[in-house]
Amino acid sequence: MPRWGMVIDLDKCTGCQACTTACKVENSVPHGSPDEQRLRRDIFWNKVIAVTNGKYPRVNTELIPMPCMHCDHAPCVTVCPAKATYRREDGIIVQDFRRCIGCKYCIVACPYGARSFNSKEQEEKKYHRPDLPPDRNVWGQWPFPTRTHGVVEKCTFCFHRIDQGIKEGKKIGEEVVPACVEDCPAEARKFGDLDDPHSEVSRLLSSRGWIRLREELDTKCKVYYLPR
């Protein structure tokens, strides 16, 4: 069984946020509004955050793309009282909207802020997009009902692509990758099997020093960063 992971090269990353928009399109993630941003309620499955240190003129801002880290020891899975969030065999942490009771424990537990609560009102369910989840016809049955409000949602590593790709016998990590990886103009993101010594991600991790965020929590997360 593969163990899917992602490597993000911060030296190649341009901070352009194409990953964020590509994710919104692919997964039909609802967009926010000025009010929601003020209340920090806007929903992102992938977001580029800025961390600034220093004092003028010696200043440094690191722009870090943040998908879900898909931890092998995921705190969100541990705390979920409804077993709505769980680890698949291939290591992807998924959220079952049908089981989720919207208690938000997982949001508190997640050390990476990767989870969002969908507090959209019913009348906003269409999110001003006339083309809601289009993918079921093509990628096969979406495992969950159409996204609904009142639940927690997050990045899925685009598992619908992966599952479909496997069915079609395609090479995951080369021919089929998550939307954010596919649409990264600098090709700063790579996706693949961390346990496969021949995968691009394994090659990258053995070629350079890497970091994972909040290593001290022992989450064993599967998103690796290559520093500059």
Binding site: D9, D11, K12, C13, T14, G15, C16, Q17, A18, T20, T21, A22, K24, V25, E26, H31, G32, S33, P34, Q37, D42, K47, V48, I49, A50, T52, G54, K55, Y56, P57, V59, N60, T61, E62, L63, H128, R129, P130, D131, P134, N137, V138, G165, K170, G173, E174, E175, V176, V177, V181, E182, D183, C184, P185, A186, E187, A188, F191
Partner: protein, 761 residues
């Protein structure tokens, strides 16, 4: 496999295979072929191109059950190597913008002005076009076709060609594009040195050192997707990582991603460039072979930089320590090939052409001209020529009138367009009054400094027709609005501004049926000229008759039509380096450190005034608007990546991630150095007034470490007031407070020399 063999191999039937091979070539992970199994699937991919900025990248759009659901890059494109910037994805929201207009609208409220409801009344296309052509006809009948003014915002190259032909056929010299608001100084700087009045192309694949003077290559430079893709290549896809040094008063995204940020006193980039030249020449680090063989004027240039621009002296001007200047100069000269880039922050100044010239000369100094990893020269595609346009007598006479933007006159000798001159010309009726105007996707009263003047001028226009998919701010002053299609619903052909060297053409084809009654600009122009009869109608005969026919007519000589539809991209031949013998369009046929082009033009335009000009890449202290005592800070507006350049910003995907460096969307923060703010007793989050000698705007203060202490940085892109839940009333527009000033040579708007004061609201 190189590009040529690929082109030879791939035929239309092999398009899918070709796409796959290209995927391998770029190691793209996308497994989505072009137009595969269209017949029996509700899904299809259509190759077309983007138009959310002027780079016009090749894209593929995924259509599901008749709706566009996904936009991504076209792997057959070499300019962006199958990649797109985030704005391309936003295209879906451009297409399905709930604020789009779906039928022609007539104004019923005679009163015009900001905040006045035009009281639109929907009318039919026939009625609308009748009204337009009636007016146009009467202009021609009274032999005054020059009194028609055409505005041109961001359009496809094909629409631009049509609009230009329409202007010529009708007989007006007054076609005003928005280029004068972009980077004309880059073009004029090039022209002074090598005789090419175009943007600069860079061979980014092979360069090892980049010195970026205010060039926001990861935000607003064109073609952006190419810069983004090449950034990954420069950093980690070649054996030696390219070092990037950014010189900018503002810590931009580009600066954050670079290896070194060197803050500089605003407007002094020219001096720094000359100081770098001083170090390079005095330490004998320049490329003597290139300089001796292919340049002229080097001795006067050498004398200038050695006598007046020592690092010590320039350090006082720029605020950069002399050691830093020396170190950068040595690094730059010794790491070959190296590039010196320019961007808006460094060259959109009153003396911008000279600054641009000075920076550009650094490339020649280290021999980075037409070599791998250096400056390259863009080859443009050769579309099939349109039939020769004779034009009738009325048109010929009309076109001979002087242009109302004073380009190519004593005032702006080299200018190709002086966009921001129009309000003054209209308000003062110089050189003659304008009777009617048509705007194609333009929105200059948002994008040009001194917005109030534009509002007044548009108010004064006797009859204004606006062509656009939505009611932009400029449309609020229209007597008639014609709904045009977005780029995803129309036919066209396009190419990028210079960047790649080799030529590349992309098709635009409708990916969905036009929404409502929208019509493409090309079809609108065809229809107008048909109704005008006589000369204009003749000019547009034999051009295919409609937009699809026109695009086919123009591009069929490049590539068979069906193949073009399938691939979406036509590629020119590989780039050829070191064409020195035929490269330079200067009097000496060499690269000039002393501009013969400028000298000959100025002596023609200003007899006796030749002495007022400096023909060397000299530096002069910038002229500022406002007194330093009253307005102690300098306004530095900038364009973030997520600004969609079509005239609207009603796109939530772009709005919510507007400023990644601050984690802020949906707003216009006023960015100030935290020490400066402290000394003025202002705190982060305070609502403040930013007041220039001309106007003031109110916004929230953002204290930051990434901005020069003497500068107030405000992003462009917000402050729309015309339509749309996702843009109306959000943020402010810095153009409202920027004063009006120009680079005297190119007519480029100076954006950065307005002084301001900031105080608590």
């Amino acid at each position: 496999m190189n590009r040529r063999t690929f082109l030879k191999l791939s035929t239309f039937t092999g398009a899918v295979m070709g796409a796959r091979q290209m995927v391998g070539r770029f190691s793209t992970t996308s497994a989505l072929p072009l137009q595969e199994s269209i017949q029996n699937s509700p899904e299809k991919w259509i190759a077309t191109s983007c138009l959310n900025c002027s780079a016009r990248c090749a894209i593929r759009v995924r259509i599901l059950n008749g709706k566009a659901v996904k936009i991504t890059g076209n792997p057959l494109s070499f300019v962006s190597e199958g990649k797109v910037c985030p704005r391309a994805h936003v295209g879906l929201q451009v297409l399905y913008d709930p604020g789009r207009i779906l039928s022609p609208l007539k104004r019923t409220n005679k009163e015009k002005g900001k905040g006045i409801d035009p009281k639109w009344l929907p009318i039919s296309w026939d009625q609308a076009l009748k009204k337009v052509t009636q007016r146009l006809k009467s202009l021609r009948e009274s032999a005054q076709p020059h009194k028609l003014l055409l505005f041109e915002g961001l359009n496809t190259v094909s629409s631009e060609d049509m609009i230009l032909r329409f202007a010529n056929a009708f007989g007006t010299p007054n076609l005003i594009s928005g280029n004068g608001l972009d980077t004309e100084t880059e073009k004029s700087g090039n022209w002074m040195a090598d005789g090419h009045y175009t943007e600069t192309a860079y061979d980014l694949d092979h360069t090892n050192y980049i010195l970026a003077f205010g060039a926001d290559v990861l935000e607003s430079s064109k073609p952006l997707a190419r810069f983004l893709r090449k950034w990954g290549k420069l950093r980690r896809e070649k054996p030696n990582r390219t070092r990037v040094v950014v010189i900018n008063p503002r810590y931009s995204v580009t600066a954050a991603k670079s290896d070194e940020w060197v803050p500089i006193h605003p407007g002094t980039d020219g001096a720094l460039a000359l100081a770098i030249a001083n170090v390079i020449i005095s330490e004998n680090l320049y490329d003597t072979d290139f300089v001796n063989r292919w340049t002229t004027g080097f001795d006067s240039y050498k004398k200038l930089v050695l006598s007046q621009h020592s690092p010590k002296l320039v350090s006082k001007i720029t605020g950069i320590p002399p050691e830093t200047i020396q170190r950068i100069a040595r690094e730059y000269a010794q790491t070959k090939p190296a590039l010196a880039l320019r961007g808006r922050e460094s060259i959109n100044w009153p003396d911008g052409s000279h600054i641009s010239y000075a920076i550009f000369c650094l490339n020649a100094l280290v021999g980075s001209i037409d070599v791998p990893g250096g400056i390259i020269y863009q080859e443009n595609p050769k579309y099939r020529d349109m039939p020769h346009q004779n034009g009738d007598d009325i048109a010929r006479r009309g076109k001979n009138y002087p242009r109302i933007d004073f380009r190519g006159t004593e005032k702006f000798p080299v200018a190709e367009v002086v966009t921001n001159q129009i309000p003054e010309s209209l308000l003062e009726d110089v050189p003659y009054p304008i009777e009617m105007a048509i705007g194609f996707n333009s929105n200059f009263n948002m994008f040009a400094p001194g917005t109030e003047r534009w509002d007044k001028a548009l108010q004064k226009l006797p009859f204004y027709v606006h062509v656009s998919p939505f009611i932009s701010e400029m449309a609020l002053y229209a007597d008639l609005v014609l709904p045009s299609t977005t780029y995803l619903e129309e036919w066209g052909y396009d190419h990028s501004p210079p960047g790649s060297g080799f030529a590349e053409v992309r098709i635009k084809q409708p990916v969905v049926k036009p929404l409502g009654d929208a019509r493409s600009v090309i079809d609108i122009v065809f229809e107008m000229s048909k109704r005008l009869e006589e000369g204009p109608a003749q000019s547009f005969a034999n051009l295919g008759g409609h937009s699809e026919g026109f695009v086919k007519f123009r591009t069929e000589t490049l590539m068979p039509w069906k193949e073009f539809l399938g691939k979406g991209v036509w590629l020119g031949k590989d780039y050829e380096y070191k064409k020195y013998g035929r490269l330079f369009n200067t009097p000496s046929k060499k690269f000039e450190f002393y501009s013969g082009n400028l000298k000959s033009l100025v002596s023609k335009m200003r007899k006796g005034g030749e002495k007022d000009f400096d023909y060397l890449p000299s530096y002069q202290e910038a002229k500022f608007l406002g007194e330093k005592e009253k307005y102690p800070l300098l306004l530095l507006p900038y364009q973030p990546l997520m600004v969609v350049e079509n005239g609207s910003q009603n796109y939530p995907w772009a709005q919510e991630i507007f400023l990644p460096m601050h984690g802020v969307g949906w707003d216009t923060p006023v960015e100030m150095n935290s020490e400066t703010a402290k000394s003025m007793k202002l705190r982060d989050g305070n609502v403040v007034w930013v007041e220039s000698p001309f106007q003031k705007i109110k916004a929230r203060l953002k204290c930051s470490e990434g901005v020069h202490p003497g500068v107030v940085a405000i992003p462009f892109g917000q402050g729309h007031y015309s339509y749309g839940k996702w843009q109306k009333g959000i943020g402010v527009n810095p153009n409202e407070i920027i004063g009006v000033d120009y680079d005297a040579i190119s007519g480029q708007v100076a954006f950065f020399n307005t002084r301001v004061k900031v105080y608590k609201a």
